[in-house]
Amino acid sequence: MFKTYFPIALLLILVLGMAFVIVLLSRFLGRRIPSKDKLSTYECGIEPTGDARGRFPVKFFLIAILFIIFDIEIVFLYPWAVVFKKLKVFGLIEMGIFLFILLIGYFYIVKKGALRWE
């Protein structure tokens, strides 16, 4: 038990120590010249306005969820494409079924009007 985990523990200690040391070093050694621009919140180069915890329409949430679902679909497509040649026809059919089921979901979403923005 000890033997197997000792290297991992050692690595953990080393990594933590290294990170700590580097942060400390830059704190002591680096020069600091603060200016107004440097201290402002970084938000894609745009001035932040309002409260970060502001309310937003639940429609965004719905779209985001739907996006994630179909995003995952794409994620599956990548590894599939890599081994496509090995899987041959089986892979094609299998992915067809997978996409078909998702298509039904998409169809349902569209028909239910989940993507309409009014």
Binding site: K86, F90, I101, I104, F107, Y108, K111, K112
Partner: protein, 479 residues
């Protein structure tokens, strides 16, 4: 690197496929159909369930593995599928009028129920911990939504939220346990775990993993101390869904637990049976004692469902052939009597859930009163109903395996339970009716479901032999 095409065998998953296709069909039809034509959706659903039942029966007495040993078709899984499908059938039939009454008649409801059933069937048939987890998640996610189906009702929202949070928590435990087992045995396949556990050395990980899985599934079957969600969820969820949650997922959890404990870990029976012994005693006692003071019938049945999980745990502790078959018989009997009792609550609606609302029910609706009394007596374990037969079988298997003390505690518990079941009967039969609201005729399909569950309760009680044989033929060979 060579690639092997997975052994796909559509025949052995035909019941699951039927359910899945019907569920998708209902999902597509829901936005397409408008107005009154939506009324066919429940009928499509229950016909699909009936078809799946037929296909399960045609698969009886076959033993086949498929999908790289992940999926197993055996009588054990078939028996559980019969339990799930009959439960689903009853729930769908009794939901129709309820949904219209509550103005939540949407096709998604049926689709979700079917998806949940699909998940349960997957759980019963899996020979791999990952597939068990997959089935559990499919089932649970649908149930979280269904519990909150009465969107306008705060209690329903609370029910859904609580169920979701605690369920997700439990899934985490289960997954962690699976990871531990994988770490210990280098496999998630139950057969390989069985081979491993028969060896001499069992690392500590193995037991930690098993313990975590016990916690994860303990939430699903509502055993002590993982039962806290039960009363709130049962109270808030729409009544048909409460009926559904109390029968199907519980049976599914037990099917997984039976396979894991008595199959994969069968050789370590001595090690885990003690823990389960304590759990069984606490679950039974806790459920029954708290149920004594309930005034809401849904909460009362929630605690009773905890207690019943305890009785099934007794069968698990007993182990062996009779332990497995008695647990299965118990779950079948419980499905009929419990859903049967809920059907009457469904009929009376969400506003009449206090015990006082049942005053003099028998004078107003004699048939409902008498059948509810029948189900109450059955839940209490009174002959000649299925509840008695099931309890008799469970306790006899406990005594057979030498757990006489556990059997005595169980019998005393069912004695305690008689008090609160009888209270319902007292209120229905011996009090004067409270209000003179107009009598509503019993809807046809609800009546059909009621008839079906009465038949189940009496048939399993008076002439149980055929079902006992069925249960005895459908055990997997325990270690």
């Amino acid at each position: 690197m060579s690639w092997l095409t997975p052994d796909i065998n559509f025949k052995i998953i035909s019941p699951e496929l039927i359910i899945l296709i019907v569920a998708l069909l209902v999902l597509i039809l829901e936005p397409l159909l408008k107005g009154r034509s939506k009324n066919i959706l429940p009928h499509i659903s229950w016909i699909g369930v009936a078809l799946a039942l037929v296909s399960v029966i045609t698969l009886w007495n076959r033993e086949e593995l498929g999908f790289n040993q992940m999926f197993i078709l055996d009588n054990f899984s078939c028996f559980f599928k019969i339990i799930f499908l009959s439960g689903t059938l009853l729930v769908i039939l009794s939901s129709i009028s309820y949904l219209k009454e509550e103005k939540i008649f949407h096709g998604e409801y049926f689709s979700l129920i079917l998806f949940a059933t699909f998940g349960m069937m997957l759980m019963a048939s899996s020979l791999n911990l990952i597939v068990i987890f997959l089935g559990l998640e499919i089932m649970s996610l649908c149930l979280y939504i269904l519990a909150g189906f009465r969107r306008y009702d705060l209690k329903s929202n609370e029910s859904s939220m609580k169920y979701f949070l605690i369920g997700a928590f439990a899934s985490g435990f289960l997954l962690y346990g699976i990871a531990m087992l994988y770490g210990a045995t280098n496999s998630t396949n139950l057969k390989e775990i069985l081979i491993f556990t028969q060896g001499f050395e069992n690392p500590l990980f193995l037991f930690i993993g098993l313990g975590l899985i016990l916690v994860g599934l303990g939430f699903k079957i509502a055993s002590f101390p993982f039962h806290m969600w039960v009363p709130d969820v049962y109270e808030g969820a729409p009544t048909p869904i409460t009926a559904f949650i109390s029968s199907g997922p519980k049976a599914a959890g037990f099917s997984a637990l039976l396979r894991i404990l008595l199959f994969a870990f069968g050789s370590l029976h001595i090690d885990w049976s003690f823990v389960l012994w304590i759990l069984a005693v606490l679950t039974m006692s806790f459920g029954n004692v708290i149920a004594l003071s309930q005034t809401n019938i849904k909460r009362l049945l929630a605690y009773s469902s905890i207690a019943h999980a305890g009785y099934v745990l007794v069968a698990l502790v007993a182990g062996g052939d009779s332990g497995i078959s008695s647990a299965m018989f118990y779950l079948l009997a419980y499905t009929f009597m419990n859903i049967g009792a809920f059907i009457i609550i469904i009929f009376l609606g969400e506003k009449k859930v206090n015990l006082d609302d049942y005053s003099g029910l028998v004078t107003k609706y004699p048939i409902l009163g008498i059948t509810l009394a029948l189900f109450m007596f059955s839940l209490a374990g009174f002959p000649p109903t299925s509840g008695f037969m099931a309890k008799f079988y469970v306790f006899s298997s406990a005594i057979k395996s030498g757990y006489t003390g556990l059997a005595i505690i169980g019998v005393l518990n069912s004695f305690v339970s008689v008090y609160y079941y009888l209270r319902v009967v007292v209120i229905m039969f011996m009090r004067a009716p409270v209000d003179e609201v107009q009598k509503v005729p019993i809807p046809f399909f609800l009546g059909l479901a009621l008839l079906f569950s009465v038949w189940g309760t009496l048939h399993l009680g008076i002439l149980p032999q055929s079902f006992l044989t069925l249960a005895q033929n459908s055990i997997f060979s325990p270690f």
